[in-house]
Amino acid sequence: MIVAERKPLEEIRRNLAGRKKVLVLGCGGCVTVCLTGGERQADMLASQLRTAAKVAGEPVEVTVRTPTRQCDREFIDTLKADVEAADAVVSLACGVGVQLMAEVYETKPVLPAVNTTFMGAHSGPGTWTENCRGCGQCVLAETGGVCPVARCAKSLINGACGGTNKGKCEVSRDIDCAWYLIYKRLKARGDLSFLRAEREPLDWGMSSSGTRRTLVHAEVNDQAHRRGAEGAEGAAERK
């Protein structure tokens, strides 16, 4: 799941630059689940905007909508009337949703209300922790299900660095050393052979450090005979 955190109100208001009619847009997807951008949080942001406007003596008209997801055009298309009636849209979706909104409603300022932070899992009451960085070359089969790319501060692939300290990372005592966990898990499984195997350096070209990535499922893409070929070529090129 994509995890995001609310931006400070001040920044959101600064970006709004005094616009009077604001559409606050929650998202019913990931940001609802991580308690940052669902309908309730959209309501609360709207409430904040109205109250702040009242305090500042500049009335503002805020409406709230929360589509199922902001990362699909079909859901975004249903917002047309509300978007057109607004001077600006404040979106609580992740960066994916904000961009798609901005693309669909090109002439309307679509402003982010959250910082998209990571892909993670619920790890305790009200807590989410990063687990995946979308590196595009999953090694979890070999690392006992603990991702060294996302969970090692240095994304090492050959084992812990010298900073590993009593099972914790040198960066913070609150962070587990991923390689310590990998070692423990593989040890418990009685097979350290993966740990011993020498690895080639990772291909970061497959990852978020590379170019913008595209996935095409030819079986549902009507232009797959054309674009699919391009896509396949593109993928091969990166190898």
Binding site: A153, K154, S155, L156, I157, N158, G159, A160, C161, G162, G163, T164, N165, K166, G167, E170, V171, W179, Y180, Y183, K187, L192, L195, R196, E198, R199, E200, P201, W204
Partner: protein, 298 residues
């Protein structure tokens, strides 16, 4: 070419020292110290690479200046700040500048240093850097041509490749596994994290008996009892026995340096039987290195 390699190969107990490049352009003081105190007693001198992520002058530049002064440098190279393009480029440069000894390190995380906002690179890790050196030595690099074939170098470098290990880590098995991988990737010598417990070190050395690469025990001068305690508490894999801390605590202030040197010397004396050399990290007390070596009975 490398005298350092020859020294280890000869079976002589070998010493290396260590200097840190300046934060600024005033490089003379550190070079002078190296010439005065390290040149004669060390087979080679490590030059740290933006140690603890605190920005300093380039290690390669200082290494070259040592070469010019007749001191054989060990270029420390961390993978934190450069991607594989830059690392390979600098390695070729090092070879051209007469720097042959390279110590491959991952490097402390950027958040530990004085540029916490910097983007950490870690394109390769220490094993990857060793693999890279081996590749360059073979006349190719990590990339490929348009046809998917290895790039051919116009002139291949030759390195004396080193790596590090933490002998007294809490969990020693993963350390050994990683050391095995480093050696498999081409490491030819090992410099260890600071060791203060000869018996633990001996045990570690026995456990890596199958690894046929010279090991230089790491010696960090303990300047006072406070530092001993700090290292104990905060430096991963460093265990300072109580007796050492007690000796430092009991020492007269004027005698402290002497006690510190004495301790380091005794440690080397106690461990020289089970390893092939000592890497002395003086942390600014460069002048003391000859006395440490003297105290070790070498």
């Amino acid at each position: 070419m490398s005298k350092f390699r020859d020294s280890l190969a000869s079976g002589r107990f070998t010493f290396t020292g260590e200097i840190g490049p300046p934060k600024g352009t005033n490089v003379e003081p550190v070079l002078e110290e190296a010439v005065h105190y390290l040149k004669d007693c060390c087979a080679a001198v490590n030059v740290t690479d933006i140690q603890t992520a605190v920005m300093r002058m380039s290690s390669l530049a200082v290494c070259r200046m040592l070469v010019e002064r007749g001191i054989e440098p060990v270029l420390q190279m961390v993978t934190r700040d450069r991607n594989r393009l830059a690392l390979q480029s600098d390695l070729l440069g090092a070879a051209a500048l007469g720097v042959e000894n390279v110590l491959a390190l991952t490097g402390d995380h950027t958040t530990m240093g004085d540029h916490k906002e910097a983007k950490p690179v870690y394109d390769l890790d220490s094993v990857g850097l060793l693999q890279t050196m081996r590749k360059l030595e073979s006349g190719t690099d990590l990339g490929r041509t348009m046809k998917g074939e290895p790039n051919q170098l116009d002139g291949a470098p030759k390195f004396f490749k080193g790596c590090v290990v933490t002998p007294c880590a809490e969990e020693v098995e993963p350390q050994i596994i990683k050391l095995e991988k480093k050696v498999a990737a081409g490491a030819e010598f090992v410099q260890t994290q600071a060791v203060y417990d000869p018996r633990a070190f001996e045990k570690f050395m026995k456990s890596i008996g199958h690894i046929k690469v010279p090991v230089m025990v790491g010696i960090v001068l303990l300047k006072n009892a406070g530092m001993a305690k700090y290292m104990n508490a905060n430096v991963p894999g460093v265990v300072v026995p109580k007796e050492i801390t007690a000796r430092l605590a009991a020492a007269d202030k004027k005698e402290l340096k002497k006690v510190s040197v004495q301790i380091a010397g005794e440690l080397i004396r106690d461990m020289r039987g089970c390893c092939q050399g000592a890497h002395i990290m003086p942390l600014g007390w460069d002048k003391e290195i000859p006395r440490v070596i003297e105290a070790s009975g070498a």
